[in-house]
């Protein structure tokens, strides 16, 4: 989408064209500074013994046009990080730049290009119709609504809301309200969009539609999207890159493939009716047995046997007279990667439950 409105010189969307050297350093040859650049950001809530460090010395750069997931349990600091980037939480230390504009001082210039759908927020006016909301919030974000009317129609079409354009939001289903909320965030042409738990509370079907739409919007409109969630399905489906947060710190930051690849442990699951106690004991002597599932039909063992060790495993199974009914490598998911890196699982809140 056009950044031209933002760069037009009059009107409140005037931007600060001065760039500092460190912006350019982190752009990897792309034009201009990254969409989001967070440096050594720290935010504590409360004081004394009750103090909770929600974000702890986090540095992060998000390139234009990428879709980045923030994955972590409740209380990991995802929402605080987002609110700092929006300027609605003031950090204790560090800085946040949006397209090169410091959210801390040149605030208004930074606001023009960023918007967010925050968890639990309705984000729009339920007493207005869908289209009235889009027009209102486009204006508030500094865009003349008449100039983007066609865009709004496209957006409504895409989100399957065209039929409901003139319906008050309060009369829509929950899934549709969520989509209107998203549409109102996109209506103003923000190019960096934060979505905090966008699929929370949606039924399976609505969540799937929303995920597909997010992906499409990112590609077709060239948006930079930061999705925060503790739901790895959303993150895996939508994001190119995942930043894992735990207790306010980044514990992993890589592409989805790389994270899954690195964790692509060497675990192999073998199922066979011949896997009795004796056979398992035999395997334990030569291999690291990760899991034994006697309840499965047929019983199964998970063995660490990456690379050439797989041949050793099949040899050992043949020697023990085990006829294999099924053998597969165990595919890790982000949940396991997170578990591996932090020792805690995504469902468990980390630290205080401060969002």
């Amino acid at each position: 989408m056009a950044r031209s409105a933002a760069s037009a010189s009059d009107g409140p969307r005037k931007r600060d064209e001065t760039r500092s050297a460190d912006d350019d350093a982190s752009t990897d040859g792309l034009t201009g500074p990254p969409a989001l650049s967070v440096e050594r950001l720290t935010k504590r809530f409360g004081d004394g013994d009750d103090a909770v460090t929600a974000v702890d010395d986090v540095s992060l750069a998000v390139e234009r046009g990428s879709v980045v997931g923030l994955l972590g349990p409740n209380g990991a600091g995802k929402t605080t990080l987002i609110k700092c980037a929006l300027g609605i939480v003031v950090p204790d230390a560090g800085s946040v730049r949006v397209f090169g504009n410091d959210v801390g001082d040149g605030r208004r210039a930074a606001y023009a290009d960023v918007d967010a759908m925050l968890e639990g927020a309705r984000n729009d006016y339920w007493r207005l119709t869908v289209r009235e909301n889009l027009r209102y919030f486009a204006t508030i974000s500094g865009v003349d609504p008449d100039s983007v009317a066609a865009r709004h129609d496209r957006l409504l079409d895409r989100l399957d809301l065209a039929d409901k354009a003139d319906t008050p939001v309060r009369d829509l289903s929950r899934g549709m309200k969520q989509k209107v909320s998203l549409a109102s965030v996109l209506a103003g042409g923000a190019e960096l969009v934060f979505l905090d738990e966008p699929t929370l509370g949606l039924d399976v079907e609505s969540a799937r539609t929303l995920r597909a739409e997010l992906r499409r919007l990112a590609v077709e409109e060239g948006l930079t999207i930061v999705v925060s969630s503790h739901d790895m399905t959303t993150i895996e489906a939508v994001c190119d890159r995942v930043v894992m947060l735990s207790n306010g710190r980044i514990v992993a930051d890589d592409s989805v493939e790389a994270l899954l690849g690195a964790a692509a442990s060497d675990a192999v699951r073998v199922a066979s009716p011949d896997l009795d106690a004796e056979a398992v004991a035999g395997l334990r002597e030569a291999f690291e047995v990760l899991d034994v599932d006697r309840e499965a039909r047929p019983p199964a063992v998970t063995v660490a046997a990456g690379g050439d060790r797989l041949y050793d495993l099949t040899d050992a199974l043949r020697a023990a007279g085990v006829t294999v009914s099924d053998i597969r490598t165990v595919q890790p998911d982000l949940e396991e990667v997170f578990l591996e890196r932090t020792g805690s699982d995504l469902g468990a809140p980390s630290g205080g439950d401060r969002r």
Binding site: S4, A5, S7, D10, P12, K83, V89, A121, V143
Partner: protein, 287 residues
């Protein structure tokens, strides 16, 4: 609201079309000017007013009910004494409904927007919150004038009272009087952002307006610097004695403007400080 004020003579923003950006021309987003902002904010208030008339009608009915209780009860208790001062009571009550309308619509509005998650979208607007808040305030005042005009008409008919209703004088004096209350509304809204529960208690402040409206400005001249007090005395003279706006001493008019501006600025400052603190505490945008 500084150097980035948009040119008002360019409402379409057409001159802002940016060359060389390689974007489809049919879809070129143009920057919104303050004209667009004003239109959007006022139009939203208008839509909600006409689409949900029950709120306004409910307010009118409740106000009239209280007035009826006051009037009929007063007749029983005070008899002729009330009849002699009925004009003053009608004017005072009119100003009170205006004040309560302006105050509660602003403070409740801020409270609702906090709940809906729309407040921070107005705070993080590239326009800055001040023009948005001022425009919303203007919309609330206009709306309140409409409902209070209905209440005034019913009061006049029911009591058979005659008052001077020179529109320019009444709107100017009453309008400036309640601008000070608008400031209190912003302050209360700011406090609500920080301490959500206190917000409800602040609604009780509107009963204090009765004291301000009937403040003894002649015996205690210093009370004129309180919100409403000086404006209330002027409104009495305008509506009961028929004094026109230009017949007031310039000093009185100056004080009216100064009190209005002072409380509005003060209230906005409190709101600013409160939201700044909320940002630091991380409570802005907590639902």
């Amino acid at each position: 609201m500084s150097a980035d004020t948009s040119p008002p003579e360019d409402p379409g923003g057409a001159a802002a079309a940016e060359p060389g950006d390689g974007v489809r021309p049919d879809d070129e987003p143009r920057p919104a000017t303050y004209y667009h902002l004003a239109r959007a904010v006022l139009y939203r208030e208008f839509l909600i007013f006409v689409r949900y008339p029950a709120n306004a009608i409910g307010g009118i009915v409740v106000s009239l009910f209280f007035f009826a209780a006051l009037f009929l009860g007063g007749q029983l208790l005070a008899g002729q004494a009330l009849a002699d001062s009925i004009e003053g009571i009608v004017v005072g009550y009119f100003l009170w409904t205006l004040s309560v309308g302006a105050y509660s619509s602003v403070s409740n509005d801020i409270g609702s927007e906090v709940q809906w998650g729309t407040l921070e979208r107005h705070i993080t607007t590239p326009f800055g919150f001040a023009p948005v808040a001022l425009l919303k305030g203007v919309a609330k005042v206009v709306r309140t004038f409409l409902t209070s005009a209905v209440i005034l008409a019913v009061m006049l008919l029911a009591t058979g009272t005659r008052l001077s209703l020179a529109p320019v004088t009444v709107v100017a004096v009453a309008g400036l009087s309640i601008v000070s209350v608008l400031g209190l509304g912003f302050a209360a809204g700011g406090v609500t952002v920080l301490y959500k529960r206190i917000g409800n208690w602040l609604n009780l402040l509107q009963f204090g307006f009765v004291g301000l409206i009937s403040a003894p400005v002649f015996d205690l001249p210093w009370t004129r610097v309180l919100p409403l007090a000086h404006g209330s005395a002027m409104l009495q003279r305008a509506m009961v004695d028929g004094t026109r706006l230009w017949e007031f001493p310039p000093a009185d008019l100056a004080l009216l403007v100064a009190v209005a501006g002072g409380y509005l600025a003060g209230g906005y400052l409190v709101f600013q400080l409160a939201t700044r603190r909320a940002r630091r505490l991380g409570v802005l945008g907590d639902y």
